[in-house]
């Protein structure tokens, strides 16, 4: 689908992840991590991790409280990268081992 670009043009290769991984808050991102398969997580990681440094450099140019919409979406993809880096780099599964009943939730977080 070639609708209106939702990310800055330089990052059009990541457009296909916007629908699933551009999420508003940490609770939504963590829930998405737990609801995803490792294949889905790995695919997103493999696509965005090599672009992360470039994305940070691109976003650094803007005042943090005045990001254009497309830049803000890119930032939210980086937030999702942080949340799914643990399953990829450490656990090899979406959930932390031995924590099935434990809950520890982020209730307040800054914007953006």
């Amino acid at each position: 689908m070639m609708g209106a670009a939702r990310l800055p043009a330089e990052f059009s290769d990541l457009e296909r992840f916007v629908h699933d991984w551009c999420l508003d808050g940490e609770p939504q991102r963590y829930a998405k991590r737990l609801a995803s398969t490792m294949d889905e997580i790995q695919e997103f990681y493999d696509a965005i991790m090599p672009r992360a440094e470039e994305a940070i450099r691109y976003l650094e140019k803007f005042p943090i409280d005045d990001l254009p919409d497309d830049a803000l979406r890119l930032l939210k993809l980086l937030y999702s990268l942080i949340v799914i880096s643990f399953p990829v780099e450490i656990w090899r599964q979406p959930q932390i081992p031995d924590t099935h009943l434990a809950q520890f939730e982020l209730k307040i977080e800054p914007l953006p």
């Binding site: 940490e26 943090i64 520890f104 982020l106």
Partner: protein, 434 residues
């Protein structure tokens, strides 16, 4: 006389202990015997803790930044004291605490949707949802509907029931005693009040909350010893995955106690100093990780704020100040801090709160470094949450009654001692009819 410790030579050199040979023996109020955890599995002991500790100690309930304007308020549900409190900034800018109970027929005064859930907001006065009695922000009863129907009511005698409230460095404390034995500053003592940290500059706040099936002390103990991280959290961190840590363990560089409070300090760990293989790939990209952002904030450029690194150790990494009974502040090398609160609900359940505070990020790179820091906290805390529910079950089986604590678990032993001291003191005073 206990047997001397056998610390490997290198560790003994790197992490010297006091002349007595151990941190534990350095403090005469502590012994080296195995410790009973009956106090963590007994509902009866929990009832004593409510009265002896949580209704007598100064308890931190938040920070002044949560009450930005005149009329700002928040409520706290303190299950351990069977109390609900309103904390409010008055029209005179004074911060006060009241029991959240209408004087008319006892209805909870301030709540929204669910009376069991804490709330916050801003108002000019409090109005009861039941019969509309109204109170000023300083607690005075200002309005009684159909006042003439009451039999000679003197409104000045029906103000909200106030709770002792005091502020130290922006931290709001309450004390539920009728007359606290000490002022807040006396209670905090010289070690804590020596801390002169610019808390007001760290306004970028993240707040975590968990409902956990373990005793509050069993849970707290995991956050006041650094003996477990290389094992329980060993998979997460390439440094801790090294044979060095897994086989030799980790040593705390400094312990200190002051009255019921204590501190443990460890060596530095903020990233960027070791070879890249010692960091997860995401840590290298975001320049952050377990010890928070790698790049120091303005808070620690130049001199370290007074009161930190009380042991004056080189290669300082963090201080974990444990303020009795259930509050902790952890200061990190790169200029940010964390607070923990352990709110008992029952002998086998607590609400665990963690707040992380940073200086406002100046750009996206700093923002992401903070975000990875707080994401890492969650990965570690969840491992603790899962395991400590298992510990509670193990203790409750009562097959073992006492447990050996090592010198690295100095702070756990101290908390256990202080809790018993406070309970025994309370029982003695009860018996004497005081």
């Amino acid at each position: 006389m206990s047997e001397a410790l056998k610390v490997p030579k290198q560790a003994a050199r790197q992490y010297p202990k006091p002349p007595e040979g151990s941190w534990t023996e350095h403090y005469s109020e502590l012994d080296t015997d195995p410790v009973s955890y009956e106090s963590s599995i007994s509902p009866k002991f929990f009832e004593l803790e409510r009265e002896a500790i949580f209704k007598r100690a100064w308890l931190n309930v938040g920070r002044v930044e949560q009450l930005r304007r005149k009329g700002s308020y928040f409520t706290r549900e303190l299950a351990v004291a069977k109390a609900s409190l309103i904390i409010v900034r008055g029209m005179d800018d004074e911060i006060r605490a009241f029991h959240n109970v209408c004087r008319h027929r006892g209805n909870k005064l301030v709540w929204s949707e669910d009376p069991r859930v804490e709330t916050s907001g801003s108002c000019r006065q409090f109005a009861c949802k039941y019969h509309g009695w109204r109170y000023e922000l300083d607690g005075k009863l200002s309005f009684v509907l159909q006042e003439g129907e009451f039999f000679g009511i003197d409104k000045s005698r029906y103000g909200l029931v106030s709770v002792h409230c005091a502020v130290w460095k922006g931290f709001i404390f309450v004390n539920l005693a009728e007359q606290p034995a000490q002022s807040l500053r006396e209670y905090l003592g010289p070690m804590i009040t020596a801390i002169d940290y610019p808390f007001e500059k760290l306004t970028q706040r993240y707040y975590y909350r968990g409902d956990i099936r373990s005793n509050w002390k069993v849970f707290l103990d995991a956050f006041q010893e650094f003996y477990h991280p290389p094992i329980l959290h060993g998979r997460q961190n390439p440094v801790m995955r090294q044979a060095d840590y897994r086989d030799k363990g980790f040593y705390t560089s400094h312990f200190q106690i002051d009255g019921p409070h204590r501190v443990g300090s460890t060596s530095g760990g903020a990233g960027g100093k070791l070879v890249p293989e010692f960091y997860n790939p995401i840590e290298q990209v975001m320049r952050s990780g377990l010890f928070g952002p790698w790049d120091a904030s303005e808070i620690v450029t130049g001199q370290l704020p007074p009161g930190l690194n009380p042991g004056k150790k080189k290669n300082w990494g963090l201080d974990s100040f444990q303020i009795f009974p259930n509050f902790a502040i952890v200061f990190w090398e790169t200029g940010w801090y964390l607070t923990y609160h352990y709110w008992p609900v029952a002998h086998d359940r607590l609400i665990f709160e963690a707040n992380a505070y940073f200086t406002p990020p100046r750009n996206v790179r700093e923002r992401l470094a903070q975000q990875l820091g707080i994401a890492t906290i969650k990965e570690y805390a969840l491992e603790d949450c899962g395991t400590l529910e298992a510990t509670q079950m193990g203790l409750e089986s009562r097959v073992v009654s006492t447990f050996p604590l090592g010198d690295q678990e100095f702070m756990c032993r101290h908390l256990n001692r202080v809790v018993h001291n406070w309970v025994e003191d309370y029982q003695r005073k009860q018996a004497e009819g005081r």
